[in-house]
């Protein structure tokens, strides 16, 4: 996993500093890692331990070894959820990052009227709390009395209920996109802002057009941002939880308790008291996520080479 994140390599200067004290660095990283250990590592370790047991309402706790893992690996509800988030990942992440990138490039081009206004408005959805988003989207998606319904009445169109069957996943994808386009846009935009001017000057001299500048200078320059945004988006997709859980009361028959793996783990733990199995599902999902993120990282870096 060490190559996973490849922030800038630590060059020779660091080596020079090592002489001073091998451990000084920990003085800076230590506080973060201490809290991190408390709120991330300890619960994970606890979950690993939990995943080896089974607790029953009647009968108490017993050691079951890897039974929970065996069960998860052959659990169709779990794998259906994994399939669903994979599909989601393949469609939603490219769309979202694509829009984010385009907007970031547009903002960065300096060819927009009202650049600051757009930067603010597009980022705004990220600031909306989930509870509020649920209210808003519940209204927007309402087929009978909501906006979709109003739309259909007004224009005589026949937009189907976004919260019915096949459209639920796109409906969720839409909310996620809405929330995070601005967020990713800002990441790309700030990466673009620090591309060294000298590169543009060189391009100008070469007479390169705007598209050439984008493909030859801008995109390679922000590759690091793109890769990391992709990795975190993958993690986000695999952990998809908030949006389906928000929409669930509005579409209970289409968003099942095992709609996504994370929702499944949540339901197992919070409505079924099956926290041993829930911990197992979470750990397997964690491993899967890491594997995918790792592959993306490798590919992203290879292209760079």
């Amino acid at each position: 996993m060490t190559t996973l994140a490849s922030p800038p390599a630590v060059p020779k200067t660091a080596r020079r500093m090592r002489r001073r004290s091998r451990w000084t660095g920990w003085g800076f990283v230590g506080p973060f890692m201490a809290v991190f250990a408390l709120v991330f590592l300890a619960p994970i370790a606890y979950s690993l331990w939990l995943s080896l047991f089974q607790t029953q309402l009647v009968g108490g706790t017993s050691f079951v070894g890897l039974d929970n893992y065996a069960r998860a690996l052959s659990d169709p509800q779990f794998w259906a959820g994994v399939g669903r988030v994979t599909l989601f990942l393949l469609v939603q992440v490219p769309v979202m990052l694509g829009i984010s990138l385009l907007v970031a490039l547009a903002l960065d081009s300096g060819r927009l009227y009202g650049r600051d206004f757009f930067r603010l408005t597009i980022f705004l959805p990220y600031a909306v709390p989930g509870v509020v988003a649920a209210l808003m989207w519940g209204f927007m998606y309402g087929e009978r009395f909501g906006l979709v319904g109003n739309f259909n009445d007004l224009l005589g169109t026949n937009i189907p209920d976004p919260l019915a069957s096949t459209l639920v996943l796109p409906a969720i994808g839409n909310i996620v996109t809405w929330e995070f386009v601005g967020y990713n846009m800002l990441i790309f935009y700030s990466a673009l802002r620090v591309v060294p001017t000298s590169l543009y000057e060189a391009a100008e001299i070469d007479g390169a057009g705007p598209w050439r500048v984008i493909s030859a200078i801008k995109l390679p320059a922000i590759r690091g941002a793109l890769v990391i945004a992709t990795i975190f988006s993958i993690i986000g997709s695999f952990q998809l939880f908030n949006e389906p859980s928000i929409l669930q009361p509005l579409s209970p028959n289409y968003i099942s308790t095992h709609y996504t793996p994370n929702l499944y783990a949540y339901s197992l733990s919070f409505s079924g008291q099956q926290y041993n199995y829930s911990a197992t599902v979470a750990i397997i999902m964690g491993v899967l996520t890491m594997l995918v993120a790792y592959v993306v990282q490798l590919r992203g870096m290879r292209k760079e080479a």
Binding site: L50, F53, T55, Q56, L57, V58, G59, G60, T61, L135, G138, F139, G142, R144, F145, G146, D161, A164, S165, S245, I246, Q248, P249, L250, S251, P252, N253, Y254, I255, S256, T257, H258, L263, Y266, S267, S269, F270, S271, G272, Q273, Q274, Y275, S278
Partner: protein, 446 residues
């Protein structure tokens, strides 16, 4: 009392590493609190002596009850905390019990959730405090819900005998009579929808509480519980009656596919496009505040019957107050319970819009004579009280009903999308219930 929860998933969090091994099941005759009976004098003494009491409840009318209680017993300091409605509340409670710290002395318990906590040994048996003597104080449906054999696990706070709430204007416009039987209900559903395709007799996209109440009214006993022995049969006569009738409404598209308590739902109730609701007697207050535009249009009629002329009903929703086994101030807590649910607190709550569980109030002249304007001056409490007397006896919830209800949409909900018949969907629900019960160590038979 929650009717339905907004948080998606059913409740009750894991109890952590602590096994909620069943301690005393069923009779409750050997719980620690039963070792010696507590006399009313002990309770009075505890109230006199005072102390702090932590109460977790979301029932809004309790605010005032607590205020008055503290005025009456100045040495008692009640901290009333709303830790969430329904599911969130149970999650918090289960977490606190699992962690063994921060457990409240008193917790609100919906009737359907009570067995889950009582069978796990999390609730104190109130019989030794003299709760058994309150038998006869409450409507049979609610008393049955809080007792298990000789043990009493809570005192009923309110009740939800079911009735037919309907928008008289919509019915008139459609020229439809108010249905008295379920067959008539189906007929009325057709007529109303035919008259105006945007109007539906009711909204239902699958609701565990509603479905179980319907089965209850139809005389079904899908869940039978004796200690850790559980029998599940969602294909019994009552369940089938419900399924067959409701299937017609689903097939013909006569139900508004609007989830309860959503803003669309309130809109429909306000606009008259959802013409009726078959639900618990607590509904008036919610209609008044949530469906204000339809003021004056709504009326209440008896719940439609399976046999013409009968008075058979069921409870829907409603909750009690219970004392946790972990409480160290059970006598004091019982003093509060008695005040709130059997004493002066009852009147205060009724004023605040609660529907009573106490028989005396259900038959109170003044209560019955109330003529709320929202319902066009109809004496609705007469209808609702009559429903309370008709609640079919012998109903039981599962000792893990909260979980079962959480997977209801996964299984029975599929019938509402038209992908499977309701009877099959009930079978799928039964399958989930059975396998979960087995997994949790219950002895489940079908």
């Amino acid at each position: 009392m929650t009717i339905r929860h907004h948080r998606a998933v059913g409740a009750v969090a894991a109890a952590g590493a602590l096994a909620l091994a069943l301690t005393a099941c069923g009779s409750g005759s050997d719980g620690p609190s039963a070792a010696e009976d507590v006399t009313p004098e002990d309770v009075a003494a505890a109230l006199e002596e005072g102390g702090d009491l932590l109460v977790w409840a979301w029932e809004p009318t309790l605010d005032k009850v607590v205020e008055e209680f503290e005025a009456e017993y100045p040495n008692v300091d009640v901290e009333l905390a709303n830790v969430g409605t329904g599911n969130d509340h149970y999650v918090a409670l289960q977490n606190a019990i699992g962690a063994g710290s921060g457990v409240p002395d008193v917790a609100q318990m919906e009737y359907y959730a009570l067995p889950q906590f009582s069978i796990a040994g999390s609730l104190a048996d109130l019989a030794p405090f003299g709760a058994s003597e309150l038998d006869g104080t409450y409507s049979p449906g609610t008393w049955n819900a809080v007792t298990d054999g000789d043990a009493v696990y809570g005192l009923p706070m309110d009740s939800g005998p079911m009735a037919l709430f309907y928008n008289a204007k919509t019915f008139e416009e459609a020229g439809v009579e108010v249905p008295a039987t379920w067959d008539e209900f189906v007929e009325a559903a057709r007529a109303i929808h035919e008259h105006d395709p945007n109007t539906y007799i009711t909204a239902d996209n699958g609701d565990a509480g509603f479905a179980t109440s319907m089965i209850w009214q139809a005389g079904g006993h899908p869940f039978e519980v004796d200690g850790t022995d559980v029998t599940v049969n969602l294909a019994d006569e009552g369940s089938t009656k419900f399924a067959e009738t409701w299937q017609q409404l689903i097939d013909e598209g006569l139900l508004a596919d609007v989830p309860g308590w959503s803003d669309e739902w309130f809109q429909g109730l306000g606009s008259g496009e959802i013409a009726a609701l078959v639900t618990g007697a607590w509904m008036p207050a919610n209609l008044e505040s949530g469906a204000a535009p339809a003021a004056g249009d709504w009326r209440v009629a008896p719940m439609p019957q399976w046999t013409a002329g009968a008075n058979e009903t069921a409870e829907n929703g409603g909750s009690s107050l219970a004392i946790t086994e972990a409480s160290e101030k059970k006598a004091l807590a019982y003093g509060f319970l008695e005040y709130a649910n059997a004493g002066d607190g009852v009147a205060t709550r009724l004023e605040g819009g609660n529907f009573p569980a106490t028989l005396a109030d259900l038959t109170d002249e003044e209560f019955l004579a109330e003529e709320p304007e929202y319902f066009g001056g109809q004496k609705i409490n007469e209808v609702l009280s009559a429903s309370a007397t008709g609640v079919v006896e012998g109903w039981q919830y599962l000792p893990y009903q909260v979980y079962a209800n959480s997977v209801f949409p996964d299984t029975v909900g599929q019938a509402y999308t038209g992908s499977t018949p309701l009877t099959d969907a009930l079978g799928a629900w039964q399958e989930s219930i059975v396998s979960y019960g087995d997994e949790q160590g219950f002895t489940v038979s079908e």
